[in-house]
Symmetry: D2
Subunit: 406 residues, 4 copies
């Protein structure tokens, strides 16, 4: 195996918005010996992770776990519920919404893309009122599904999914609601059942703190019903047989055993901390990060404070600055990986991930790396970002769950 | 994470025909910290595994690595090369050939299934002459592809793929040749280019000694050409963008980073031993296993010695014996997992895996577990199977690659 | 790090009488990140292992855990209880008893060595009656301690320690009883308190299934009392400060943190199986091993069935056979390590370890490797050893603790 | 095994002056399966680590590796070279020098302790001129050894060992020079041969980045000669047999196999970076740390800039502040471990470790944790420490060894 640390010493800081840093506990869990996927041990594992993952999605309905990356779960959501030529309504929140739309087209679905010209739409969340208006203009119910991204990884905007549900209901429209929360799950609050989502798509390598390689479809009774008449060809992604076999903790084909070990461990970790504590930790770190950005005198990519993402923060560069050159300097000098601007934002921003297994000092290291790297790159910033974040964190400490010495 | 060893002490013997036991080196490799899939380190990893995996398939053409299990790679082979309603010719070698056919139907393809009644066809390999005859009877070339299984995991039969190629050529037929060697690759010799295969499907959890979660399509120029007009909807499985991005060592979507670490390590291990040495090791262990079966007075499931599998051996039970009860006894008393009879063979046989990271003493432990378990289960066998295997191994030792003390 | 598997494929069989094979659970435990040995987490770890290890020694008194190998714990036992020039009575059970005597001499103690000429004494256990007689002949109580080996790793003899205690008491002699059970602990029953042992010496790499690097002194009130006047210079090994600091779970100097992780895991594993179940498992495997040896027509090194070791079996070679050449053949051809004959037994025997994380099929692999290796080496043996062991194991299966599928 | 992370999320920052954070590569190396310590693989490992460790000590003479913690290597240095009642000259540089003196007394050696009253001597290094003067006053050469600490872990002072050698030579005195560089080795430059040291003592858990459990004696021909007449009782620590067996890569007793795996990996890592690069990295990080301390308006414990330690920085608290309360706040709120004040310095300072596998951002996280913790604890500090460190690091970046994308 090649030596994959190109810096000679110390820990790499992986501060992209996913894959997030995988905790030691999980890395060790995935290195347990692979077992028979048809044996009794596997059934015990399967039942445990299938029960636990529902709590993460806040659903009482089945959650499908695919031995595939998140993109596959996008395809699964579409191909289980739709037929060739179906119209769907999508909303351009950023690069990943755009990719999902492109996928829909590849599969023979006809997406209509709501949004705004230029990059403006990428700086705000889903506009539920526009969805409502569009659905009201579809009295024949030609639109079969509304597809939105909950946490747009390319920008740092977390849209209000409950509002989308309300919009659909207000329009009295039967369209399914399909939501991508690949990067939101287990970092930002998410409520599959309460928000009335029909298919929620997610992945392992973000809030769940796992390596990439697992992906999810949380589904509703309405979605299952839709799957019975959906005509897109499907086999690998088909829900039916998986749901049936999952009842006893098994899968119809070979599941990704070692990543499921990791999932079991991740669920243990999240429930030990408490899911709501996980969410508030992310909110607090994200606020500290934003205070640093503002103190540098830079602009936060998300223009609407109501939809700031607790997962990542997009940082806009002043005109004339190549964000990728800044990122490269930070990578080379300080051994930290940041997220690039994608699609329309290429070169204009970088993204700081503060999701998953993150804490105060990891964030401070991250912000110090940014501040030094910005300075070294000649970006005109004020040197008070790190201080601003420290001020916030130190004055907003929360009682950590420190075990008493037994 | 749940405690997944239901036996209190000692190593579990995982002797199913896959997932095969994952060596320590690989388990440790997959537990390295996850890195940025867009960073320089990842590119180095990607280029290394993409170059190495071609040598395993014996091809100079692209090999696609999917972050998915083997079943997905079946779907990829079909959906990249075929259009809805296309006719394909398949051959019933066993349970997995049957599942592949079922998948083809789900995707809207029309498979014609050559085979024999009852279980007889499951005990022999692909009959190339019947394929030739059928193709000659298709002067209009309605058949778009011939799909066969190289190593049938459900039975222990390794078909002659070169003969199938010859049959297609002899018929002067333009059908593509699609081959599943999920359980054969890196255990039984396989030559994608020399045998003129258009798409070879494989997976990680067999001869490559990895956990499940990676799968492969080795492809030909003819297959790539076919993909340009193939009309099955596809996005996740689509080759085009993957091939393009693989040129620099990256993937269009998030790859399964930690399993790729394992793949890099597996390739190192295989090349250290030597691929041809790997093949002859499997042949030798398989012969020892078959001698044990015969000495017990039991029948080998594969009825044609020319196509005995080096990967696994199917053991037929006498009438009136429930093979699954025997397997359960062996599991409970001796902490060993064996493969069940599948489909038509359910309850009538068990399968011994001797693939991947296997050696003489592991095989002997396996055969001892079988012999004791058969006896405990009341199966009338002669107690000379283990002896027969020892006789063979001891009189056919090969010079092991033992390093001289440096 | 160098590649340390000189055989290209499959698992190495480490069947020496220690270090024994370390289970995956323990290997992973020792790879947890090192923590502050003065912090709260460490205290929790320390208290847990200090409480657990007492149960293994069956004592309510302190057990000292040294960050050192077993030889160090020998020295600790002597230097904490004795003064320069003190007389001690030792018993020549084999190579390790001899080494302990040599150590005593190096430290300025005067050992008297009971035993028998030639190798005869190495084939039987401690003769308690001779100890009693010798002590009776010491009315002035010049002998300060009796030192014996419980499980003699060089031969496979497990002496009766309770009988030694009884002998000392019968003689009305105040000598301390010092016992080495480095290779016996957690494989053979051992009762520090009930047997009235004053200092028990042990190590990590045998029945405790850990790597080498931890060693132990279980002590009595009488031993602590003796330490107050013992005059051998000592600092690192001194009990006083360790006992004091252990009360809160800490050590006076830096302990071997990562091996203590492993100890915590090992204790969990042993208590899950049940300590008495561990002992009977070893007895059963040892009996199967001995039946194989006898069926080969070879002699068991231990000549007294009452003191057969459950840990290892010494196998005598016929005259003219070099046992080390046999071992080398087995190592080279079958990738298995066996123990060499030591001291007086060099070249005349090999030792089969069946301790720690061993089970039926691992033992069968071991015996098959021996049988094939003996044959390849030209040793005239009957080929029925493996069969004899299988007969025994299959007719003496025990209800394994198999968890019901939950 | 107990869950040993008392904070629910994110990485713990272990910034004590040892054990230092163990890199993932080393943690994985120590989890390789334990092998036969008498087999060929072990010999290859032994020869590799024995050759490599000499380069770290900069010596061509033998280096002894003990399966024990550093305190044991102190004892080894004394007991191999001295006899009961021997006079040695020691220098009070801090807590560990004091403990070494205490050990010497326990072993029956008569140490004379040079130093200064109060804590003043703890803030400066060894005064070579006083050693010279004292040796000149010993015309009968009653003083058998001079014992000094190179890097005093309790304070952050790195004494000039070459000057001590020069002082001994200037006095024309034959005393041996014994040096403790437990915390200095592989972080601060050290030259066993060039500096004319007779015994150098070190340990694994500091600059070598390993868990505790290995310790070292680098020795000179003069020391070996002295060992021949040294009369302190010794066995476990005795050099003679170890040196003899090390010639082929083995040890007389069971070595700490798994920690030796870690040592092999650590040596690889250090040589990949380059030993001199390791030293300059430590100097640079230490300077940044000191700038932060000064900017806070706090005093650095080491009062002489010529002997600032590159390993750790001691931070003095203003009068009336309990340093341990500050440490506790930082541990509880920010999940970071700092070193306590020891001995005379208890409660008056804390120690920041910046040794081993440390880099810029880890240091910045550390300093941010200190700055926030000081503030939260009500210590009157200026909030510009982190900024000062960033200014230094950003203006003194060094070309990191970043591999070109191959």
């Amino acid at each position: 195996m090649p030596n994959l640390n190109f810096h000679p010493s110390g820990r790499h800081f992986l501060q992209i918005p996913g894959p997030s840093p995988v905790p030691d506990r999980i890395l060790r869990a995935i290195s347990y010996p692979t077992i028979d996927h048809r044996g009794p041990e596997f059934g015990a594992l399967g039942r445990q992770v299938l029960a636990g993952i529902r709590k993460i999605f806040k659903t009482d309905q089945p959650v499908i776990i695919y031995p595939a990356s998140g993109t596959g779960a996008w395809e699964a959501a579409l191909s289980n519920t739709l037929s060739p030529g179906d119209n769907v309504l999508m909303f351009e929140t950023g690069h990943f919404a755009t990719l999902w739309k492109k996928m829909a087209e590849s599969l023979g679905i006809k997406p209509e893309f709501l949004g705004q010209p230029g990059i403006e739409g990428w700086r705000r969340g889903v506009q539920a009122d526009r969805i409502e208006a569009r659905l009201r203009a579809d009295p024949q119910h030609l639109i079969k599904a509304v597809c939105v991204v909950h946490n747009e990884t390319s920008t740092g905007v977390t849209s209000n999914i409950a509002a989308v549900r309300k919009a659909i209901d207000a329009a009295g429209h039967p369209a399914l609601l399909l939501v991508d929360t690949i990067s939101g799950l287990a970092s930002a609050d998410y409520q599959h059942d309460a928000w009335g989502v029909d298919v929620t798509v997610s992945g392992s390598q973000k809030g769940l703190m796992l390596p990439p390689g697992l992906s999810f479809n949380a589904i509703s009774a309405k979605a299952i019903n839709a799957s019975k008449s959906a005509k897109l060809p499907r086999s690998f992604w088909d829900w039916t047989e998986i749901i049936e076999m999952n009842k006893t903790g098994y899968w119809p084909y070979t599941p990704s055993t070692n990543l499921l070990y990791g999932l079991a461990e991740a669920l243990d970790m999240i429930f030990e901390e408490g899911l709501e504590n996980v969410f508030s930790r992310h909110q607090r770190l994200a606020e500290a990060c934003r205070r640093a950005v503002r103190a540098w005198g830079l602009e936060i990519q998300c223009a609407d404070p109501a939809v700031y993402s607790p997962v990542l923060t997009g940082v806009m560069m002043p005109d004339g600055i190549d964000a990728d050159a800044v990122r490269r300097t930070i990578y080379e000098r300080f051994d930290m990986s940041l997220g690039a601007g994608l699609g329309k934002m290429k070169g204009r921003m970088f993204r700081i991930g503060h999701l998953g297994d993150c804490n105060d000092l990891t964030l401070m290291a991250t912000l110090a790396g940014c501040e030094m790297g910005l300075k070294l790159s000649g970006v005109p910033v004020k040197a008070s970002g790190v201080s601003a974040a420290m001020d916030y964190l130190a004055s907003h400490t929360v009682p950590l769950v420190v075990k008493a010495a037994a």
